[in-house]
């Protein structure tokens, strides 16, 4: 059941992405511009994750390669390196995003402020999901 969900997830994300993108175009002027931007951004992010997930699932590996890949995924040193790199990049990109957010709020505002807010929320969500995933693997 868990494996089935794991295999289906990229396809679900890919389909949901197209639903969101199509909804943005179909609803057009009927919804607020900010909401339209949020829908489109989420659609774009899901499209990226879905496409990458589908592409990775299509890669065929020999049993030895598969075993080696799984071992490297669970290897405690690799997990520690990935976690450290993710923490570091998340920390610095969050600082940069906040700087951009402040500059936009002060000098530009409006739609760009909303866009940066969405990116900051997605950035934090990505971090939380990955930390949870890596903690489970360790």
């Amino acid at each position: 059941m868990k494996d089935c969900l794991k295999k289906a997830a990229p396809y679900v994300m890919f389909a949901a992405a197209w639903v969101l993108i199509l909804a943005t175009f179909l609803l057009g002027e009927r919804i607020k511009e900010q909401l339209s931007l949020v829908l489109f951004t989420l659609g774009g992010v899901l499209l990226g994750f879905g496409a990458v997930g589908i592409a990775l699932s299509r890669i065929r590996m020999s049993p030895e390669q598969q075993k080696e890949y799984e071992r490297s995924e669970h290897d405690e040193r690799n997990v520690a390196i990935r976690e450290k790199a993710a923490m570091s990049s998340w920390y610095w990109t969050l600082y940069m995003l906040w700087a951009v957010f402040m500059v936009i709020q002060i000098f530009v505002g409006g739609l760009w402020g909303v866009a940066v807010s969405v990116v900051i929320v997605l950035h934090c969500t990505f971090y939380m999901i990955n930390i949870h995933r890596w903690n489970k693997k360790m």
Partner: protein
């Protein structure tokens, strides 16, 4: 912390890949452990000690820092 992994491995004529297979880590992790660039977790230390049929203290040498 230092360890005797390389010494024990060579004495038993075991390759890094074989040891990596035996304790379910990558060869890179064994290389890093032997060169002292990485300290094993308690679980991995236990697995390695068990692999050699020794205790953790016999494989991993904890050096107390002199103040």
């Amino acid at each position: 912390m230092t360890n005797r992994i390389a010494e024990l491995r060579k004495a038993r004529k075991i390759s890094q890949a074989e040891l990596a297979d035996g304790v379910d880590v990558t060869r890179q992790t064994i290389i890093s452990l032997e060169s002292g660039r990485y300290n094993a977790s308690l679980l991995l230390a236990h697995k390695i000690a068990k692999y050699f049929g020794l205790t953790i203290e016999e494989v991993f040498l904890f050096e107390e820092e002199i103040p």
